[in-house]
Subunit: 290 residues, 4 copies
């Protein structure tokens, strides 16, 4: 005999753009460019077991809801939008006990002085995950991804163990590059979201830039600690840092020295360092990361 | 004050191809084309806190290990390879208490009768995740992804609730297409892996094909149940089924009827149905899904 | 002073799926899954110079036209569809003197015996480019891409020149893998399109499989020649063959031999071999490849 | 009987990064992050017809050459590097009569004041194509791609013809977004490359931003003209501008107005506008675009 386990459903990747006319700095337009995904859980056994859809608010409706709330709420911060959207479901659909909202925000930078032109900044994507659960309460996880950073010096890797398959030599001065994916959990579902985002992003970059690195793990821990120090509303930071290897090319066969000038940027495989830094007094995460 | 939380590190996406000369059916070569990712956990505070790498077996070594074991073990099944590779770390590195091995296998189909030529079958990718933990024991999760299937009829979606944002109309005969991602947990770290894979894959396809569908959730539950029925060694199935919407195009403005002939295949947004089907006597999952 | 040069405009990537009910082999449904792009040229100076759109049939209309003709023409072959669609523009819009239609067809394989279920075959994508020009006439180029093939033996590469940067050693038995992109020009805008496609595809595969290879260029020439021999209606074949390098891993540091068993499948860089094979009596290509 | 037609071969996507220590503005490091592809043509019938590789300088050697020249030439501009690399082949290999070098440069922006840290700017990619041919001489085409820009107002599209499939309504105030791909041909193989690039990029952006647009074609023509006006060394500009449609969402079913606030950002299909703007005295392009 079998049973239904954990499940959820929703509309993924609703691409909504909100233009706040003259709502931005200096009277420019304010662009909110989002990719919104909603997932609902609750009393959904019927549709799985018999195809009874009485509790299944259509994913098409969920798409419509994103657009309607974008109008009603205006160009608010994505964390705030996620909370409102989640509450709409847990408060409005009896069968739904949990809503999970994930938002990616694509930043745009102003072009010229007219206030109406923008270029997509490809430097990073801002991320938000909100969960609103009737039993577990609300949680907000902010973050960013696709932030590609590089130190041309100041990174070592040595003192590691050797086994029968180890051929790597000690590195006293290597390139260190990574694509930062960071997520930070807020203590409460209320904050100055954009100020927190900006401070967290700066802390990540400063720590990456200023930490003399003996390992990417050490850099990771420094980056997570810096976010916690910079933003007291944040109690936990999770980081995934692929080591974007830049190998110094051996030019000796061509009679050339390579004094850390010419590198091969490898695609695969890559080191992948994942870790968590927590405040000592961080409240229990509950379902925030689910 | 801050502390280090959960962490792991390893080499991701090691692309190894093993050719078993004359080791395949009918004396043909046997191609094992894998993307292997390893992640190790354990006593790794030192490298995070002070950059002391005494416990950090290099990710470069992990890459080498994949290649060396591919030679030593030959073209064995990916689940078996994952178990051996994981045990190599938990048994050989005192500081390492857990190893997680993820493998993607890309299938190749023979070309001609020579036994040496193959075409990459793009129909699906076989997936494996093995965890070997000194406290929690071993787990094996098999699966597949990127299997894109389509029913041209036999799918409905109606009887759903309506709220203020609902505009969807009842569907009595819709196209149903999805890209199957399925993962199945084995009861024990020992099985006839390929037979199980083949039976699970067939069960997924048969259930998708033969289930009259009132919702994609119902199809999901049918697919998961079918795997459990077909392969007793499997105790849990997790499925993620994006609804690859095919909308019938409104041709009325052009004076044309569209009797379910012409569809627009949409990219985004898409419905996303995720669910789990468990055997009633499934043992606790422990860390199998971490 | 500046002037307007060559230009064209249209709708790209119209994703249309046509289901021919019971129109396939054995009474199964026939799935035509296409990505259609149209590009129109002609008397378009006005819109460029002054924004006068009197000659600019909207790209939105072009999208609608794809759907309407999919209905009117039914599930015909993509080459035939491209010809009809192109003629619709050159015959119907006075300002338009040339239409270029590009179609990708994604193949689906039947699942089960019901006639209504299919799995997307990822083995290759069929391609078509049709040009209909009031001065230059009509041309049809068929083809395929994303066909990934592999020979585990029977390939060499030696006897090459050495310069100051050459470190490669002779290869007497290497893996040879490539992702085939092939385009073939028809002598006339009339053929048994699917028979030609099937024969051309088989010829490519057979030549790849059966040619003892001293270079990928030699294989390319063999593949192109085989298509010309197999399909007399085709007068020219263009091939782009990336050399998907599989490097034998050096296991000597680990005390292991590697007798062509374990390979590293590299991503980048890759060799790229591009070439054309023509029938001696091939008519002039005109604008077929533009 | 068949014959060999146009052909070329080389190494594609050599990922080389050159660090000019303290060579950048303000004494910071200078990062050159490139993806280099080389393609050689000439007397290559032998390898195609018989597998005689006496004229086939290995693509592996071409990879090595990129690295060696990166060392020898230092962090020079990509256009200059392409010219040197091309000349290396046409001047050094008797059988090679033409070399085509394509380079993508990924820009990095400094982080902090240390001079050693950088973030990858994702705003655009700089492109270069150099051809050096013994008969046709040398050509340089610069450009950029992946520059995504948006005007929130100031764009119309109306006055277009209507046929039986036209349903689009006049737009008096639409969003206009596009991902700019631009290539510009230099009159001579000698210029102040970076100054030209910077001026061309600014001209593109200013024209996009400041042109009241009645069609994307008009914007394209304005952008191309602006580049020609800003950089006299450039004689021809080719642009490909996908219309990244942003459709105002119909919120009327929910009792809401949408006064150009909420948009759906569509993926496919998309309008694609391609065009060329030439100086009246542009020299013949020869093989520059091949």
């Amino acid at each position: 005999m079998v049973q239904l386990g954990a499940n959820r459903y929703g509309k993924a990747e609703v691409r909504v753009v909100h233009i706040g006319r003259a709502a931005g700095p200096g009277g420019a337009d304010l662009v909110r460019d989002w990719n919104v995904s909603t997932a609902l859980s609750g009393d959904l056994a019927g549709t799985h077991l018999t195809g009874d859809n009485a509790h299944v608010l259509p994913t098409d409706t969920q798409k419509n809801t994103v657009y309607a709330l974008a109008k009603k709420l205006g160009g608010i911060e994505p964390e705030a939008f996620g909370l409102e959207l989640a509450a709409h479901y847990t408060g409005g659909q009896e069968a739904i006990s949990r809503a999970r909202i994930a938002i990616e925000e694509y930043p745009w930078a102003p072009l010229g002085a007219g206030g109406h032109s923008f270029a997509r900044s490809g430097e990073y994507i801002r991320t938000v995950t909100v969960i609103d659960d009737q039993d577990h309460g609300r949680s907000v996880v902010g973050g960013l991804r696709d932030l590609l950073v590089l130190n041309t010096t100041g990174s070592q890797f040595r003192g590691f163990p050797h086994d029968e398959y180890t051929t790597l030599e000690d590195a006293y001065d290597r390139m260190l590059a990574t694509t930062v994916s960071a997520s930070w959990r807020f203590r409460e579902a209320d904050s100055d979201w954009t100020a927190a985002f900006t401070a967290a992003r700066s802390a990540l970059i400063d720590a990456f830039t200023q930490t003399p690195s003996y390992s990417l793990q050490q850099t990771l821990y420094g980056m997570g600690s810096a976010v916690l120090a910079a933003v007291p509303e944040i109690c936990e930071v999770r980081l995934a840092l692929p080591n974007k290897h830049h190998f110094a090319v051996d030019l000796a066969p061509f009679g050339l020295a390579n004094d850390n000038e010419v590198y091969y940027a490898a695609d695969r495989p890559y080191g992948l360092i994942e870790g968590t830094v927590l405040a000592d007094d961080a409240p229990d995460a509950g379902i925030a990361w689910s």
